[in-house]
Each structure stands twice: as structure tokens, then as C-alpha cells.
Amino acid sequence: MRTLLCCLLLGLAGASVRAADPTYWQDLRPLLRKHCTYCHSTKNLGEVEVSGGLALDTYQAVVKSAGKPGASVLLDRLVTTNEDRRMPQGSDALAPEKIAVFRRWLETGAREGKQPETDITVATPTTPRRKLPVSLPTLATPPSGLLGPGKPGPLQLMLQVGPLAPITAVAFNPDGKLLAAGCYGRVTIWDLQTIQPVKVLTNVLGSVNDVRFSPDGKLLAVGGGQPSARGDLRLYQVSDWKLLGTLAGHQDVVASLAFRPDGKQLASASFDKTVRLWDVATHKLERSLTGHSDFVYAVAYSPDGTWLASASKDRTVKIVETASGKSRFTLSGMDQDVLAVAVQPEGKQVVSSGYESGLYWWNASTGERVNVQRGHGVAVHEICFSQDGKLVASAGGDATVRLWSGGSGAPLRTLATGSLVYAVALRGDGKLVAAGTFDGLVRLYHTGEGRPLLTLLSLPAHGDQSEWLALTPPGYVCGSKGVIEQGEWRMSGNAVPRALVWKALARPDAVLKIAQGTTVPAPTFSK
């Protein structure tokens, strides 16, 4: 059909086409992006006072509105001397050479050309050009004099791998054996029974803002995208990590995902202001909820799946019926963005949080605010419940994960992470909590004792070969060969002989034991 259109236009223009002639992808789109599509985009079609009901961000749309070369409305709008009509509105007329590109493009048949590689390829981040040191502290303290004359103190592992991409999503699978962690361009699946990555998914587009396992554990949904450009929503089959499909349509990044408890529907909240509901089996869009007036940051289903709660930059939480799309309540009263929302497993209460510090508890059947728990003092980025509803975990901008009683909302425990927490997940049984932090690490804690268990690090790598590391507080480490080989140890700021330390600390068995909650004696160092 597109070819047909081109032929038609070609016929009209009657001009011969040369390789150097302008095409949509090569020449027109950069111009449109710079001068037109901030307002004239599909995203803005709903806001007529901004877009005038015209979108110029797809080839088809541009061809449709361009008109014939001799009588092109689009061209006329660029060259008219009537300042009220001339585009771009409120700025100087486009330079003549840019207008000439438009004209030539129309005259030579409005060709689409080839979409540039960088536009379509999955953005696998290249290894950062700079290698900044990443320092990982341990409690391991070798005896005095053993590692040279330096002052004895706890050892630090130094890796020249920074800066690491912030961890923006974490999720346990239903049986708690797998942990998925997402950062820009990558999702690492950790096997918590062996403490090593089983898979690194790199076929995602841009940032990864949320990862969710389906209730039956068979699917993994990954949401993200290119900020301010397009959303990316993918479904993977957990058994072999095959990409089952891409659920296309979001105009800006997907910020949050939720599976309906029956597993048949997936909700995606996006910065394009919509929440979309997808049929998990067919990957078809079932409904688009457009009630929010700004970025939607988070979405969560009620236990029976009849309604969902969504949190937005428009400073509200909305409770919407999933079958009809009808809004039940708009929970308001916040002065700043609402970043997170979670529904209590019994479905009676909803908890929200955001830039305004505090966890806000709402009665789900009346829309009344029933409780506010302060504590973090700054933004709270994500909230989650344990399966039994007894425990709530929150991800704080104050570099802490806080645990709260799921019943009374009372604070239980504060876990210091050392870096802003973007993502938090509780294992189904509520015994483990995982935190994804700005410094690019995943930290696992034992919720009962508030004890740190593991720090996980996954690095970008080429091909299937993944570089990774798991570190325990006593200092026991396991990791890929590359990481172990380049890792340097420091004590009180001074480098110490590596081999000696590795001999004592490279102990996958000890790491595993600690991860399973067993106590392991402190490492012993010997020559």
C-alpha cells in the first residue's frame, strides 16, 4: 500500500528520483523533530489546542497532510508571510535551505527511505568509555601485619567498572527462586538457589522501568522504552527466555506493570498519561484508560481484578473499574507527584507515596484517607506488599528501604542501602526484600532480622557471556572469572596483595550458605 502511495505521488510529481534526493527518514524527520513534532505528535492529538489535531511524527501522517507539491498546505504554512498562520508558531520562519528540503522532498515523490539503524536497533548500551572505580565494602578484617605494614581495617573490593546504570526494577518470581533486576538496556535474571545469573536479557529498548512475573510464573513482562519518544513493553517466556511479543502502542516510556491476579490481563502505566490493559494470551490491547493528565508512574490491581489503582504526576491516585474503565475514586490532596501505589492483598486498602514524603493509606471502598506514615523524609519511589499482606516495603530517596506493618501501617525496620532506592520487591513469603539502587547494585536483606545478605552486581557484556558478582557482608564473594580477575582489594585506602585475599574470600559455597540464611564463620586469612 505504501509503495502504491509512493508510485501515485511519483506519478504526480513526474520528477526523476535520484539517490541524493531527500527521504522522510534521512532528511525530513530530523527537521520535523526539531521544529514541528514537539506539538504536532500523535501523543498530543487529544490536546487540540497544542497539536491542532495534526500529527507529523509518522511517515503516513506526513504524506497525508503534505498535499500535492504545487498546492501543499504544509509548505504553505512554512512560507506564508501571514505571521499568524506561519509555522513554527511564535518563532522565526524556517531557513530557506530547510524549506527547500521540504519542497524537493515533495517534488521527488515524498519517499520514505530507510529508517536509520540507530532508530530501530535495540539499544544495547556500549561499555562505558570511562572506567570509574566502584568500591564495595565488606566487614572482613585481616589480622594486623598480614597484608603489609598498613593499618588494619575492613577490606574493600575495587572494580573499575563504573559508572553503573541505576537499578530501576526488581521482581521475585512466584516461588521466590528467581530475581529479575532491570537497568538501562538490560534485565538480569538471578537464580537465588545458585546465586548466579541464569540469563541477561538485552533485547529491550532503552530504559527498563518495571519487571513483573505472571502469577503462574511462566511469563516475565518488561516495561520501559526511550524517554520522551516511545514505550517498550515485552513478554518473555520464562522457561527459555524467548521473546513472545512486543506490545506496541505507548508513546512514552512504560513506568509500571501489573498482572491481574488471574494472570489473563496485564496493565501498563506510561508517561504518555495512559494506563493500557492488554490480553496476555493474544497481546491485544483491550482498553486504554486516559483519566490522568500527566505521567502515570504506577499501577496495581485489586485481588479480584475488578479494579485497579494508578498513581500519577498529576498528584492523584485513581481507582478505576477494569471492565468498564469507569473511575470510582480520585484520591487527591497531595501537593506533588505520586510515584507509587500498591493494593493490600485483601483489597481493602490502597497505599500510595511520592515526592511528598510519607505512605498514604486509603480506604479502597470509600476513597477516604485513613492513615499517613512519615519516615523517609524525602521521595518514596516504590511500595510493595508481601503475599499475606502482613508486610509492606518502601523504596526511599533517603537511601533506605523501610518495612512497615501491613495491618497497622506502623514502622518496623529501616534498612540503610547507601544509595537512593528506585525499586523494591518482597519475596512472596515476605522473608527476603530486594532493593534496586541508584548506584547500580541489587541488595538483598533478611526482613525478619533486618540483616543484609547479598549485594549483586551485573555488568554489560558482549554476547551471552555475562560478567557478574555476588558479595556478602562478611566478605565472601562469588562471581564471573573476568570480575574476579580484575578485582583489586584495598584496606584503609591502600592496595593489598590480591591473591591472598581472593584465597580467603572467593568462596561460592559460603555465599550460598549465607544467602540461605545459614551463619558462616568469619573468613580466615593465611599466607
Binding site: 568509555r129 532503552g206 520522551s228
Partner: protein, 820 residues
């Protein structure tokens, strides 16, 4: 593209020794031999791997002129492994060591020592020092964009980057970190939007792969390191050259260096913000290249990281062949003369005795001289008669009335805010101070340290007009120091060095003031008592820090009993850089019609005086004479400059706004002056409600006394502390009120009035005509005017109607309605 017109033969107009310079599109360099090269800065020190320094080369010519040779000079480095230099004169570090930069142009040579340190060090990009200036230069954080209080497009930055600690999380973390990709910096919308590869409401702000772009990219590669509370601040800017005399079409590159609080000096020519204060005289490009256009003098404002300074650009109006012949009455004339000589301006002639007398009466006592006084003055043959007249007018009782009115405006004395009793008590205090000619420093001290009942202690009312510590700080700064601090309440002042710490440090002097009600005069009288509390601290609302009392640019100071005493000491000290200058400028403006600094209550480094040397000298003289207001007035009025005609001459008409005071600035009578002048001319007295008969407009205690005339001629409401509140704008209602209204007819027809008295006394017509001229425009009519007036009266239906018409015409003349 620059339009180059064919040069044409200059037409030289010779006007009494003035050679008017032709306008030219392209300036030609001096034709005399090049004598020396001046290279700015004089030495170069490059610190760190990304350090650069722009060089400016100024040629000095035999005829005394200078010319920018920066773009013609050839540059070379003696060792490119240490420093390189490009064709435009920008030096870059490449390795540690010392090197000489050779500069050659027009047969002259110069060398410049360059020291490079830390060139190969791996220093991460510093957010405060390197990233914020790039964002500010690109305009990201300006008030109309992301610097707006609500941000733009969901992205908010602190205005002009004054708060790096706020900006960093906004860029790095807000909206869940969507703006940056550290692992792949060029994917960041922080970079993609401003270069236009991604839709951006603000359009293209950065060029891809420019130096600024590279800094942002490198900062992301470095892991987007955050600022700390201990980051250095900019403490000063040095600009070279700081002043230039230029010709139209001439260009001058400037170089700006910033000194940081950690001691290092950095070239910020490419990052500073430039604003031409008068584009028609000189404009500037974002890279600091000044182009001179039209005649006059202007300043270029230069801002960088909270500091601001100016460069003065002068394009003389004409070239004066010989020194100005202008006898100086006092130092004012001497200082003005230097400026006029530089600018090629020729002052107007002295005004006539009649104009002089009317002028000093209006300016000093707001009153017209009566016919007998005028006749006596004109008859006086003494060479000192102007001096004597000034002394006499300063001693008149109306002096107290007229200046109490001015102070009433400044202090906003008003019955609605203070109650009747408070208003009278404040008004009477001002009158007493003026009657005794209390030195200004003592008056201000009494205001600043006032306490007690507002009904018995006049100055205590000062603290009822501004009711909060921050308001009191703002009012005190604006009134007594001429500094507008209001901007710094919410953010760093955009055109000044004042920060929120400066603002709240000043407010800390007033924070312990309290006001309570008293029942001494009965419970319904609403008397207030201003008192001091023992405790109370001022916090900076942004940082939450307790602010120690600290005056502007002064040291921290405290007083166990009353902090304001220390503030009063500081404000009124002879050495205070603001106090004397502020009042010298205000009184200069009251007498000369225009301040040396305009607006007169907006004194700041980026709003320099038209003649800084004169302002300095006036302030010094004022301080040395114990802040005696009458001395200041006497000095101004005795200057020859004050006594010049208001008519422009060919030698000064080019200075259309009379910025340099080459003539007297004519202005409409103020509302109160006009009301009293109308009374005087018609021989009547307006009755003001609630005040004894005979009370004059200049004696009114506040502006709540009903009078349509005063309102329509712009008396201020006394609601805001600003000289601009008194409106001098013309409007149609003013004209109609005097031309058509029955107001004038009623006054002229009064039996006790001037006209009826003449008719009753059967005064001969020529004498009536002379009297009417003297009572209105304060001069005798010319013989032509007399005969025309006689002719008119003779033709009128009656003498009464004839002279009535004559007075009506005089009252509606500009000569009457203006102080000229």
C-alpha cells in the same frame, strides 16, 4: 550576514567649535602608527585538563586611540606539548609546564607567559563549576523556561542555577531518572532535547558536539557526580578591557575571568551571560564581542554564577576642538565638565534670573515666588544675588512643609495604616526634624532604632508600615541604601550579588521586634507599642539555617539589647558605601529632575551612575558635612549646572534624555506644587476637608485628604516604598480639569481673589497684566505680550471677561505648569 554599504564622504558640520562625527557602518582603524600591544590578561595560569583562556590584544596608537587587534593578531606557542593556541586567540592546556605565547600584529610583538598545571589529571567534571554554567548559558534555567517557579514541561531547575544542590537531583533522579543515561550519555534526553534530535519546546539550545555539549556528555560519562555543600562559589568577576571609547562600527572582544572562593581564576568568556543595557549604543554577542553603534555612553552587563559587573562603552557625541569654556561654581561643575569634554557635549546657557528664582522656589519650598519678591530679586545688582537667594529660600518656613511632604511619601505616612494619631505623631516628628535641620544620619538612626507607643513616639510608626522582619529589611535597604533586595527573598538576585543569605541576614536585625496593643488611650483607640523581645531568630527558609544578623556586604554583628543599634551604626557610618551615595543621588534627582543613577532607588553594580565620579564626590561632601541636607541642597543649587537653561542647544540635543545634565531637566509641577500655584495665581485658598482653613497642599499630613486635583495629577497612594509611586504621567483628565472644568472658573471668580481685587481697586490694565504674568510664570510680560493682552482685553465684552481670559490662558500654558 553583515550589510556593507559603500562608504560616503563625511559631511562635516561645524557648529561653534563642535565637529559632529558622521555615522559609519564600518569603522576604520586609527591611521597613526601602532605604538604598543597590550595583551589581556597579562599572565595566564591554566589549571586542570579542560582549562582554556581567551586572549585579547589591544593596540595603542600614536594619536592616543586604541583598537582591538584580537582577530588580526598571529598567535604561536613556543611549546605545543604544554599549551596550544588557536587562530582566534584561545589558549588550551596540553601538558604541565611553562611556555611563552608569542603575539604578532602590525609589526609589533608581545609575549605572554603561560603556566599549565594538572593538564593530564583525570578530573571528573564538576557540577557546580562546569555543568551549571553551561545550563545557564544555554538558557535552560532562565525564568521563562525550566527556571520558572513551576518549571517547564515537568522539568524544574533553580533560577539561573543558583542552587546546584537542588538542580542535581532534578536532572539525575526526578521522573525516575529518565533524563540521563550514564551508560550511554548521548541517549540522554538531557542532551538530545537541547540539540534538537528530540522534540524540545525550547528549541535548539546547544550545538551537538560543541564544547558545552562535550562538558555535559563528559559529566554523564563521569557518573554525573553531585555537588556538595562545600563547593566553592564565585567571589568576583574581572573584565578586560573594563571601559572603551569607541567609534561607530568598531568591535571589541572582551575577556571575563571568574575568581572562585577556592582561589582559582578561570576564563568564563564563553560562559558568561551578556546583556547590552542600550542596544542602540553598543551590542554584544554571546561570545563577548562588542559592536559599537550609536553615539552615547552605555554599559554591558556581565553575569556569571551569581556575580555581576559591567563594561563601559563610550561613543563620544562629537569631538571638541578645544577645552570647554565652562566656569565651575563648585566641584559639581568640575566633575560634569570632564564628562562633557569626553563625550563631546556642550552645556546650554545659564537661565535667566526670573527662571532661576522660580526654579529654586519650586525645588526647595514647592511655592511660587510672589510678585514683590520677584521684583526685588530682579532689581538686585549684587553679583552674589543667586547665592543669597538660595540661602533665603532654604530658611523659609515652607521648607518644612515641602520636605515633610517628601518624607511622608518616602516613609508612607498614612492614616489608614497608622490611625489618625499615629499619622500625626509620625508627621509631626518629621516636621520637627526638618525644622531643626536634624542631620540625616540622626534621623535615620532614630527611625531604625525606634520603639514605644506609635501615638507618642513618631518614628515607632516606621515599624507599623512594614510589619514583618523581611518587609522591614526590604524597606530599610531600599529607603536608606537605595538597594532593592526583594528578588533575594525567593532566590539569588538575578542582576546582583545578593543571595538569600544576604537577605535573611538583614532581616535578622528586625526579627526580635514585637508589636502589642496598649490601653493607655482607651481600649478602642488601637494604640500599638513597638517593643523588643529577648529571643527570636531569622532562618533562611530554603536551607533552614539560622541567620546571624549581617548587613549587606558587612561583617556579622550582634547586640545583646537591640540588634538594630548595630545596624543603625553600620547604615549611617560615613564609610558606608551605600548610605551617602543613595541620598546624594536622591537629592540630586529631586533638584536636577533626573538621578545620576536611574531609577533613583535602584542602585547596583549593574546599574552604574551616568557620572560615578560626581556621585562619589557628592556623597563624600555630604558625609563630610555631617549629612546636613541643607548643605547638600545648597551645593547642588549653587552649581552652574543647576542654573543652566532647560533649552537644548545644538551641542547637547543628541543627549535626548539629558542623562549628562548639560541643561536643566524641565518637568511638570507635582500635584501639590500645582494646587498651591493655582491658589497663588488666583489669589484664593483651597479648603481641604478636616484641616484648618489656609492649610496648603504641601502641608497635608497624608494623601487621604480628599482632592480631585491632587489625585488626577498623580499624588502617590503611599502604599509601596518606591519613588515611582508618584505619577508624573500626563493624562487627558488633567487637561480637561484645567481647560474645561468649572474648578478654575470658580476660583478665578471668587470675590476675594486676585482678579476681583484688581477690579475693585481699579488697577490700571498694564499693571494688572504685569501682575498676572508675575503671579503665574514669574516674569514680567514682554512688550509684545503686554500689547497683545491689552488688545484682547479691549476687544472683550468687559474688562472682567478680558482679564479672566488672560489668566485662564496663562494657567493653561506650559510655562506655568512646568518647572523649567
Amino acid at each position: 550576514m553583515k550589510l556593507i554599504r559603500p562608504s560616503f564622504l563625511a559631511v562635516l558640520t561645524v557648529l561653534s567649535g563642535v565637529v559632529a562625527l558622521p555615522a559609519a557602518d564600518r569603522a576604520t582603524p586609527p591611521s597613526s602608527p601602532l605604538r604598543a600591544l597590550e595583551v589581556l590578561p597579562a599572565t595566564i595560569q591554566l589549571d586542570g585538563p579542560r582549562a582554556t583562556q581567551r586572549v585579547v590584544v589591544l593596540g595603542h596608537y600614536a594619536e592616543g586611540r586604541q583598537w582591538d587587534l584580537t582577530r588580526q593578531a598571529k598567535y604561536s606557542s613556543s611549546d605545543a606539548t604544554i599549551a596550544t593556541v588557536d587562530a582566534t586567540g584561545v589558549v588550551r592546556a596540553s601538558g604541565d609546564g611553562k611556555v611563552n605565547l608569542a603575539i604578532e600584529v602590525g609589526g609589533q610583538k608581545a609575549t605572554l607567559p603561560v603556566t599549565v598545571r594538572g593538564a593530564s589529571k583525570d578530573v571528573p567534571v564538576d557540577f557546580t563549576r562546569e555543568v551549571i554554567p553551561v545550563l545557564t548559558k544555554a538558557g535552560c534555567n532562565q525564568g521563562a523556561c525550566h527556571g520558572a517557579a513551576a518549571g517547564r514541561g515537568g522539568f524544574r531547575l533553580s533560577l539561573l542555577g543558583y542552587d546546584p544542590l537542588f538542580d542535581h537531583p532534578q536532572i539525575v533522579q526526578s521522573a525516575e531518572g529518565r533524563r540521563i543515561v550514564m551508560a550511554d550519555p548521548e541517549r540522554s534526553i538531557l542532551l538530545q532535547k537541547p540539540v534538537g534530535t528530540m522534540e524540545h519546546g525550547g528549541g535548539e539550545r546547544l550545538k551537538a558536539n560543541s564544547a558545552d555539549y562535550a562538558i555535559l556528555k563528559r559529566w554523564l560519562e563521569d557518573g554525573a557526580p553531585a555537588p556538595t555543600t562545600r563547593d566553592p562559589e564565585v567571589t568576583g568577576l574581572q573584565v578586560s578591557p573594563s571601559r572603551r571609547v569607541m567609534v561607530p562600527g568598531e568591535e571589541q572582544q572582551i575577556v571575563v575571568q571568574a575568581t572562585w572562593s577556592d582561589g582559582r581564576t578561570v576564563d568564563v568568556t564563553a560562559l558568561a551571560q551578556y546583556d547590552a543595557l542600550n542596544d542602540s549604543v553598543a551590542s554584544i554577542t554571546p561570545t563577548g564581542l562588542v559592536t559599537a553603534h550609536g553615539r552615547g555612553e552605555t554599559h554591558i552587563m556581565i553575569r556569571f554564577c551569581g556575580q555581576a559587573t559591567v563594561v563601559q562603552i563610550t561613543l563620544p557625541y562629537a569631538h571638541l576642538d578645544k577645552p570647554l569654556d565652562f566656569p565651575a561654581n563648585n566641584f559639581i561643575d568640575a566633575k560634569l565638565k570632564v564628562k562633557w569634554q569626553d563625550l563631546g557635549l556642550v552645556p546650554s546657557e545659564l537661565c535667566s534670573d526670573e527662571v532661576f528664582l522660580r526654579r529654586i522656589y519650586l525645588d526647595t519650598i514647592g511655592t511660587l515666588p510672589d510678585p514683590a519678591e520677584i521684583k526685588a530679586f530682579l532689581a538686585d545688582r549684587s553679583p552674589e544675588k543667586r547665592k543669597k537667594a538660595i540661602e533665603k529660600v532654604l530658611d523659609r518656613p515652607e521648607f518644612v512643609d515641602f520636605w515633610a511632604l517628601k518624607w511622608g511619601d518616602l516613609l508612607r505616612i498614612d492614616r489608614d495604616a497608622l490611625n489618625d494619631k499615629g499619622m500625626w505623631s509620625f508627621h509631626n516628628w518629621v516636621r520637627a526634624a526638618l525644622r531643626e535641620n536634624t542631620p540625616l544620619d540622626r534621623m535615620v538612626r532614630e527611625l531604625i532604632t525606634a520603639e514605644g507607643s506609635t501615638f507618642t513616639e513618631g518614628p515607632a510608626n516606621y515599624y507599623r508600615l512594614s510589619r514583618t522582619a523581611t518587609d522591614q529589611a526590604e524597606t530599610t535597604a531600599q529607603l536608606f541604601l537605595g538597594v532593592r533586595m526583594q528578588c533575594a527573598k525567593c532566590h539569588h538576585h538575578p542582576f546582583e550579588k545578593w543571595s538569600q543569605d544576604d537577605y535573611y541576614g538583614l532581616a535578622a536585625f528586625f526579627v526580635r521586634l514585637g508589636v502589642k496593643n496598649s490601653q493607655e488611650f482607651g481600649i478602642f483607640v488601637r494604640e500599638s507599642v513597638v517593643y523588643l523581645r529577648d529571643v527570636g531568630e531569622q532562618r533562611n527558609p530554603r536551607t533552614g539555617a539560622v541567620m546571624k544578623p549581617r548587613p549587606l556586604d558587612g561583617p556579622e554583628m550582634d547586640d545583646p539589647f537591640d540588634r538594630r543599634r548595630k545596624l543603625a551604626d553600620w547604615v549611617t557610618a560615613k564609610e558606608n558605601p551605600y548610605f551617602a551615595r543613595n541620598f546624594a543621588n536622591r537629592f540630586w534627582a529631586y533638584f536636577m529632575g533626573r538621578g545620576l543613577v536611574e531609577p533613583i532607588d535602584d542602585m547596583r553594580a549593574t546599574n552604574p551612575a551616568s557620572n560615578p565620579e560626581l556621585l562619589e564626590a557628592l556623597a563624600k561632601d555630604f558625609a563630610e558635612h555631617h549629612f546636613d541636607i541643607k548643605h547638600l541642597m545648597r551645593t547642588i543649587m549653587n552649581s552652574r549646572a543647576y542654573q543652566l537653561s532647560c533649552e537644548s542647544s545644538p551641542g547637547n540635543q543628541a543627549d535626548a534624555l539629558n542623562i549628562h545634565h548639560t541643561r536643566y531637566t524641565a518637568r511638570r509641577l507635582t500635584a501639590e506644587q500645582l494646587a498651591d500655584a493655582l491658589d497663588h495665581a488666583t489669589g484664593t485658598r483651597e479648603k481641604y476637608p478636616g484641616l484648618p482653613p489656609g492649610t496648603r497642599a504641601i502641608q497635608l499630613p497624608d494623601t487621604k485628604v480628599r482632592s480631585y486635583l491632587l489625585d488626577v495629577f498623580g499624588r502617590p497612594a503611599r502604599q509601596v516604598t518606591c519613588e515611582c509611586e508618584r505619577s508624573m504621567q500626563p493624562n487627558i483628565a488633567q487637561a480637561l480639569h484645567l481647560l474645561n472644568g468649572d474648578f478654575l472658573n470658580r476660583k478665578m471668580a471668587l470675590a476675594s481673589g486676585r482678579l476681583e481685587t484688581h477690579l475693585k481697586q481699579k488697577t490700571p490694565l498694564p499693571e494688572v497684566i504685569e501682575d498676572l504674568y508675575l503671579a503665574t510664570v514669574c516674569r514680567r510680560p514682554t512688550s509684545a505680550e503686554t500689547s497683545r493682552a491689552q488688545e484682547w482685553v479691549r476687544k472683550a465684552p468687559s474688562v472682567r471677561e478680558g482679564i479672566n481670559d488672560l489668566l485662564w490662558v496663562l494657567l493653561n500654558s506650559r510655562e506655568f505648569q512646568f518647572n523649567h
